[in-house]
Structure formats: structure tokens, C-alpha cells
């Protein structure tokens, strides 16, 4: 069974961490993954840096710019990850924008992911209809779960369509924002979490955007399966480097 699905069956709240490959140093990728697993993180999103990350705020933009300056590129990331399954068993997702993957060749990219042991992809700018018409069969052929986003503005019918197209979890963007823009949740978010929970979807929801500490993690996961932290972890890496990952994870739970 796909490692993501297996993990989702566990009776616990999922803590997912995002980091940008090639940041802070070009060769930090493997150490970050190993340390996150060692410290009890449940799922890892490896960011493939892109020159024009539309959905990201300043923190992840900056990390992407530096990662690219450091020399990160698609083939190098695959090279860094080629033996990753010898040391970790945590579910791994690659998160990136569609153009670099389109240039690599979608099928070749998916084949590489399967060879390495990547379990899923999050591509925010690959829309639902294009995925279903052109790429779903390729993703499935290589056992990759494609994760879709929903936002507070996503209508009920579209949430149902996304639920139907999903086969793992739904990435629930907490508020109308880019990454790292807002911290903390108000009544509006809580209502949105409750509204989606009441829809009793087939796929569990994992909340992203706006989660940075134990308090926001608990708020986000009260009615959902888990939460994703990105910008706050990038900031931690910026300030502390890769030697104190346990400090960050331990303050979340």
C-alpha cells in the first residue's frame, strides 16, 4: 500500500513538514529528511524550487531563490534522493510548480519518483481538469497520489469533485492567502473547518497555511486529520541551520 494511505490509517493527528530542497545549503536535503523522521514527523513535503512560485509568500520565495542560486535542479534532487529509502520509511511528497515537471517530462518525472520511493505530488498550478484529462493515468501508473487543494472560497460542488478525484488526502488551505502570510486562526477559519468536516468527505483533510506552533497545530487539527507547517520551519532553518531540527518539532507536539 502507498505509504501515505498507510500513514493516514493510523489513529493520530498527522504532522507534515515542508522544506525547500537545496536550502539552506545545497546538500542539506537528506539530513533534513532523516532528522524530521527521527523526531516523529509523519509526512514530509520536499519542495522543488521554482523561479516564480505564485502561491508562496516571502519566506518560501526567498528559500526557493537561494536554493536555485545554490544550484538545485530537478535531476540533482533525484540524485540526492536516490538512496533515501535505505534510511527512511516516512511518506515523501514532492511539492512544486508544474513547469519544471512539464519540462522534465511528466512521465519521466513520475517514473523517477517511483524508482526513488516518492509517494505523492502536490502541484498547486496543475488544475483538476487538466490533471484528469492528461495526467491522471500516468500518475496512477507509477503509484503516485496527487494531492489537491481547497480554500475557504471553494464551493461545495467543487469540493465534492476534488474529493472524488483524490485518493489520499485533501490539502485544506486555511485562509485566502499565500504561504506564511497569516498566523493563527479566527472564527472564520474554525467555521470553514467545521463546514468541510460536516461534508463527510471520502478523503481526510490536512490543513496548511498559518500553522507555526503547538497552539495553531492543535486548532487546525481539532476537526481534521492533520496539519502542514512550511514557512515557520523554513524560518527555523534560516535561524538555526539543520542541527536543531528536534527543537522545532518538539515545540509542535
Amino acid at each position: 500500500m502507498n505509504r501515505i494511505k498507510q500513514k493516514l490509517q493510523e489513529d493520530k493527528k498527522i504532522l507534515s513538514i515542508y522544506f525547500t530542497a537545496g536550502y539552506p545549503k545545497l546538500d542539506d536535503t537528506v539530513k533534513i529528511i532523516q532528522d524530521l523522521e527521527k523526531n516523529g514527523v509523519d509526512l514530509i513535503e520536499i519542495g522543488l524550487p521554482f523561479s516564480d512560485p505564485l502561491a508562496d509568500g516571502p519566506t518560501i520565495q526567498e528559500s526557493s531563490t537561494i536554493a536555485l542560486k545554490n544550484g538545485m535542479h530537478t535531476e540533482l534532487l533525484f540524485e540526492q534522493l536516490k538512496d533515501i529509502r535505505e534510511t527512511v520509511s516516512i511518506p515523501l511528497i514532492i511539492m512544486g510548480y508544474f513547469n519544471p515537471i512539464f519540462q522534465y517530462g511528466v512521465e519521466a518525472f513520475c517514473q523517477k519518483c517511483k524508482d526513488i520511493g516518492i509517494d505523492g505530488l502536490i502541484l498547486p498550478d496543475l488544475p483538476l481538469d487538466v490533471y484528469q484529462e492528461e495526467y491522471e493515468t500516468i500518475f496512477k501508473k507509477y503509484g503516485l497520489i496527487n494531492v489537491f487543494l481547497i480554500t475557504p472560497q471553494t464551493g461545495e460542488a467543487r469540493i465534492r469533485a476534488i474529493d472524488k478525484a483524490s485518493d489520499g488526502f485533501i490539502y485544506m488551505v486555511s485562509s485566502a492567502s499565500t504561504t506564511g502570510a497569516k498566523s493563527g486562526f479566527g472564527a472564520e477559519q474554525t467555521q470553514y473547518f467545521d463546514r468541510v468536516a460536516a461534508m463527510e468527505l471520502n478523503n481526510p483533510q490536512i490543513v496548511g497555511f498559518g500553522i507555526s506552533n503547538a497552539e495553531t497545530f492543535d486548532q487546525a487539527t481539532k476537526n481534521t486529520k492533520g496539519a502542514i507547517i512550511g514557512s515557520a520551519f523554513i524560518k527555523h532553518l534560516t535561524q538555526n541551520g539543520v542541527d536543531h531540527i528536534s527543537d522545532f518539532v518538539n515545540q509542535i507536539r
Partner: protein, 393 residues
Amino acid sequence: MSYHADERGYYGEFGGAYIPEMLYPNCEELRQNYLRIMAEPSFQEEFHQLLKDYVGRPTPLYFAKRLSEKYNTKIYLKREDLCHTGAHKVNNTIGQILMAKKLGKNRIIAETGAGQHGVATATVCALMGIKCVVYMGEIDIARQAPNVARMKMLGAEVRPALSGSRTLKDATNEAIRDWINNPVDTHYIIGSVVGPHPYPDMVARFQSVISEEVKSQLLEKEGRKNPDYVVACVGGGSNAAGAFYHYLDEAEVGIIAVEAAGKGIHSGESAATSALGKVGIIHGSKTLLMQTADGQITEPYSISAGLDYPGVGPLHAHLYVSGRGEFISITDDEAMKAGLGLCELEGIIPAIESSHALAIFEDRKFKEDDVVVVNLSGRGDKDLQNYIDYFGL
């Protein structure tokens, strides 16, 4: 073959809406309503009234006698440089501000490179009393100070784009991010035929007034609606889309798109997207764009800030790949010379963007009785410093 967007915004293989889910409701709202709103008699009436009384349309179709003698063919200039604010950009911003009002939006955002689209947007926002935020790359703010001042005088807030290369591409990213953060009350006025569906089609329709006028004006002057060729410069491609629009399906009309070669196509400092680009995704559209082998978007270069965009609208990508359009690229030097040439022969100082279109006559020869319409997209006031520096005036 169709040269118009299909229902999902595709021109052949190009176009579509490659957008994050956060933008889906905004784009979907626009997609479901834009054709209906544009067809409403009240919209049409207000749009055309403003184009006439406020913008100064129809702009003249001018037979450039001395220029024609020099190149031994019949050259007409479509004088978009005489539009209010100095370029064709305002045709689109008038249309989109009316669209925004119909959609009940009370805040406008826009991106700008050289500042022409920013000024055109700030202008219509002042006209309608709507709050306006313009994103502009930090580097462009420094080198386009007069346009920054214009936007401020018109009441707009100019926000610097500090990310990436801090030019037009990044200003567009920042405007898109603003829209993600303000999905309900805000309308994004994109300045060219780029971005996710329905923008390329909507902007082309607003700009199509250019070729609509050319048809009737040419009939009056030449006794026929169709010229032999229509020529326009292409950055993102909005003035070209407008000039070509009503001729796309007229097979006997040659369509010539002129791109900026910068310091030479293979100099590493160029914006000739058709020659240098590959199929990819930029700002929500599948089109030709300049990028690394790894799919990172690269920074273009042209002396003309309005042509300095790493992609091209999906319509133009389709015109290029299908062979419907003839694509020519013009270097900085060729464009600057052609700009000065128009001043000397016709007493018109063109925008450097438009000078690229004028520069083709040196090498691209036409028959003596060919009728060639060149879209003179903007005037050169904004470029005076560039002309001064280049010619040591």
C-alpha cells in the same frame, strides 16, 4: 483552423488556466460572466462612449507619405499613440474597469513594467473613484520615475515588487499573490493578452477596437477593408492582438508580429520569445516562454520595457506555431534608428516598442502597391531619456 479562444481558453495547444486553486473562484467568476457582461447593451454603450469622449477614439489611420516613399510601398500608421495616456493600453483598462464595476468589485490591482499599463489603470480608477494598487518591480520603479509620479498623482498606490528579478515578471507574480490574498473584493486588471483564461481573450476583445476601426478607415481611404499586411510589435502582445483581431480569419491579410531581439537573438540579452522560447507555463497560461532546460523562467532583455516579457500571449504562440503569423525580431539598434527615422520623416516621436514594428522595412521588402498597416501602439514621450542617452541628444 480557429485563431480564437475556445470555451476553455485554448488557442490550439496554448492557453488554458494553470492556476492554483486559490485563484479558481476569481477566474471562474470572470469566465462565467465576461462574455455576457460584454454583450450587455448598457456595457457596450458606456464602453464606446468612454472610448470616444475620454480616450479620443477613433484614432486616425494616417497615410505616412514620406515613410512610404522611402520604402517604396504604402504604409498606414494606426495612431494609438494619440490615445489618452499615450498608448493603446487604455482601451483595455476602460473595458476592465467597467467589467469590475459590473462584478461589484471595489478594489483594483494591476502589474506594470515601464508604467504604461499602470498609468492607464490608475487613470480609469481615478475616473471611476475606485481604489487602485499597482505592483511594479523595484528596478523598474527606479528607472521609470516619471510614470511612478503619474500613477501617484492619479491616486494609485505603487507597491514595489521585491522578489525575484524585481521587474515585470515579478510585479505580475506579486499582483497574482495580492489577488490570492484578496479574492472577494478585488479585480485584477491584467495589462496584456497573457495570464489564465479568460484574460487573453477578454483583453484581445477590448483591444479589437483597433482593427475594427482600421477596417472602416481603410475602406474610406483605399476602397477596401483589408490591407495586404498588418504589422505590430509583440511583448505580451495586446496591441498586436487588437490590430490583428478582425484580420485573423482573413487569409489574404498577412500578419506580421515583431519581437525585441535586444542585443541580438543569441546574445543572451534578448526578448525574442518565438525564437528562444519553449512550451511551458507562465502566469497561469500554457504558451511559449523563455526558460532554462530545467524549467526556470529566465529574465528577458530589451531596451524597450514594454517588450521585456519572458513569455508571449497564447494567441501569438498559436499564430507562430501554426504559421499564420510571420515573426520578425528587431534589435535595440534597429528599433532606435527606426524611431528617429519616423521623427525625421513624419514628425512623430514613437514609443520604442512601436519603433520595433517600424524597423522591419529596412530588411522586409514589400511590393510598391502593397498596403501595410503598422500599429503605432504608443508615443515616445516616456522614452525621451532613452532616446537622449542613445543618440547623445
